[in-house]
């Protein structure tokens, strides 16, 4: 930018150019001033809490007495003897492992179809998007009803197809699949992001491939998907971060019906106990803040590692123009 600018200025008008340089040099201070809200927010609401969280993770702290230092005790207990923690970690990993690729695939599938020249596209797109604006509490309540074993709409459909009704919310086998199913209902934004990416795929690439005799499936595989790979990576990382932190839906689906917010929110035999839900219980029902901080830091490390790994390995698969 700067180079371009100085080329535009005629060499004869030195004073203007010097004035321009002075202006530019002076932009560090205003720059920092403009971003100062973010700097302050970053320091106060992110950097300090993260550091503080790490400090708390080595203590025992119930908010009544001052924190007591316990060394690596919290971590040793988490990995050594805390069955609920291990259960939550496993469940969350399984949930993310299935829901993230499934959501991506379904979203890409419908985005590809919506990108075709079919009548009423805007209407169908709205239908897919709408669930995303439904508040999570409403989603939770609605789906407790839809997933009801007797007469719930989902089971009505399953029985109409000739299968037996599935006890989604009361069986340890089906509670995680129920959560995964719910995640598929929320792919609207992912579809819209894919649609935007599809608009950016140059038409002539399709034309060229078609001239070479590529059919629709090969067009998708060899043109669309490679051209869309940066968007896929973006959705993958965003989806993974969200899935590992999923809270409101399991909290409502597996809690509210069984005795309100003081109840257990892990579903039958804790088969759908999610990491965030367990963290909530430890922090805000048992007030074991040191223990909760240790759990939060473990989640932080997991998310950061996975995101960086995805970014690093993406070089092999992601095609940038």
């Amino acid at each position: 930018m700067a180079l371009q600018m100085s080329q535009e200025l005629r060499p004869g008008r030195l004073s203007l150019r010097r004035r321009w340089k002075r202006l530019q040099r002076g932009e560090l201070l205003p720059g920092l001033l403009f971003i100062s809200p973010w700097i302050i927010g970053f320091l106060c609401f992110q950097l300090y809490p993260i550091a503080s969280s790490l400090r708390y993770s080595f203590t025992d702290y119930n908010m009544m007495q001052p924190p007591i230092s316990v060394g690596f005790d919290n971590f040793a207990r988490l990995f050594g003897e805390d069955d609920l923690f291990r259960k939550a970690l496993t469940n969350t990993a399984i949930y993310a492992l299935f829901s993230v690729p499934l959501d991506l695939a379904v979203a890409l599938f419908f985005a590809l179809l919506l990108n075709l020249n079919i009548p009423g596209r805007a209407i169908w797109r709205t239908a897919f998007y709408f669930p995303a604006i439904v508040p999570s509490v409403a989603i939770g309540i609605l789906w407790v009803m839809l997933l009801n074993t007797q007469g719930g709409l989902v089971n009505v459909a399953i029985e109409a197809l000739g299968f037996a009704a599935i006890p989604w919310l009361t069986s340890p086998t089906w509670s995680l699949p129920a959560l995964i199913l719910l995640s598929v209902w929320g792919i609207g934004p992912t579809i819209v992001i894919f649609l935007a990416g599809l608009q950016d795929v140059p038409r002539d690439l399709y034309d060229a491939a078609q001239l070479d005799g590529a059919g629709p499936l090969r067009l998708v595989r060899d043109v669309t998907i490679p051209m869309l790979s940066p968007v896929i990576l973006f959705n993958l990382i965003i989806g993974m971060i969200a899935a590992l932190q999923v809270f409101a839906q399991p909290f409502i689906l597996f809690g509210a019906t069984q005795g309100g917010s003081s109840g257990n929110h892990g579903g039958p035999l804790n088969s759908a106990l999610m990491y965030s839900v367990q963290l909530y219980t430890v922090a805000f029902q048992q007030f074991k803040m040191g223990y909760a901080a240790a759990m939060a830091w473990i989640l932080f490390v997991i998310i950061f590692t996975l995101s960086l790994t995805a970014l690093r390995f993406s070089n092999r698969f992601v095609h940038y123009e």
Binding site: W38, A138, G255
Partner: protein, 300 residues
């Protein structure tokens, strides 16, 4: 070009054959499109069905809810479910409370993110892009890792059970909004800004008189998103608010659900009422909405 010429040079017999192939492939394409259309419509119906079911259940009588075969239309529209459900929790008061959070969050997010985005796009300073990557990297920070110390801190300064922990952080810029606005600001003509600079206009004036008027659509997207996010937030009010007088709509709905014996028509009526304002807002601003998401995702 040469292809066409060659085709014309072919004997008539072959040419007819080729047009038949073309007809056939056009037919196949039509059939493919028709199939795609059917699949999309089926998918859209599946996605819309739960919302329809919510709406229709809110007018049913309790025995009708899980009746077999399912009642796609109630025998009789029970409007009385609505006043009854709203009697269970102070809807108007909670709507007011929610607004008292969502409005400051909207204003704070929009103003602060716009200022920060200007600093990241229209001012040139060393290390700018590096710091901007740091902003994006903060998206990877799970809210849990900051929540515990923040809760302890807000508790110490007496902010727990007030709206401040929910509104004040919004005034320090939101990474997604900064990203979106920066992309938008970068597309605006630099000449205009340079001209104003040479004329001696301050950065704040350029921001207020050139950038903001040009960026109204993007600012609307940020305002809309932040408002809806605050309005539908369940997690933060759940953590920070304990006095039922201060509850938001989402907390009220959750409490109603968890403390009453199963009353599906009532639950669905309450859910519909809580959803209605956002649904209306969504349908009024749909274009802005879709454009906003498009913009966030595109250059990810």
């Amino acid at each position: 070009m040469s292809n066409v010429a060659r085709t014309n040079a072919l004997p008539l017999r072959f040419r007819r054959d080729e047009s038949a192939t073309r007809n056939w492939s056009r037919l196949a394409r039509r059939a493919g499109l028709g199939l795609a259309f059917l699949v999309v419509v089926a998918g859209a119906v599946l996605y819309a069905a739960p919302v329809y079911w919510m709406l229709i259940t809110s007018f049913k009588s309790t025995p009708e809810v899980f009746r077999m075969p399912p009642a796609w239309w109630p025998q009789q529209l029970l409007w009385s479910n609505y006043p009854e459900a709203l009697g269970y929790f102070p809807f108007v008061q909670y709507a007011g409370n929610t607004l008292r959070i969502a409005l400051p969050v909207m204003i704070g997010t929009t103003v602060s993110s716009a200022l920060v985005a200007y600093g990241f796009s229209r001012l040139r300073w060393r290390g700018r892009d590096l710091v901007f990557y740091l902003v994006l990297a903060t998206l990877m920070i799970p809210s849990w890792v900051t929540l515990v110390p923040l809760y302890i801190f807000f508790n110490r300064i007496g902010w727990v059970d007030t709206y401040r922990p929910l509104t004040v952080p919004a005034f320090f810029g939101d990474p997604f909004s900064i990203f979106l606005l920066r992309q938008f600001f970068l597309r605006q003509p630099q000449d205009l800004i340079d001209a104003a600079r040479v004329d001696g206009a301050s950065h704040l004036r350029i921001f207020a008189q050139i950038i903001v008027p040009l960026a109204k659509p993007a600012l609307a997207v940020v305002a809309l998103f932040s408002f809806i996010a605050a309005w539908t937030d369940f997690f933060n009010p759940l953590i920070y608010l304990s006095n039922p007088d201060k509850y938001t709509l989402q907390l009220g709905l959750f409490n109603f659900f968890s403390q009453h014996f199963v009353n599906w028509p009532g639950f669905m009526a309450a859910t519909t009422v809580v959803l209605a304002p956002i649904a209306i807002l969504f349908f009024l601003t749909q274009k802005t909405f879709i454009e906003g998401i498009t913009f966030t995702g595109l250059r990810g």
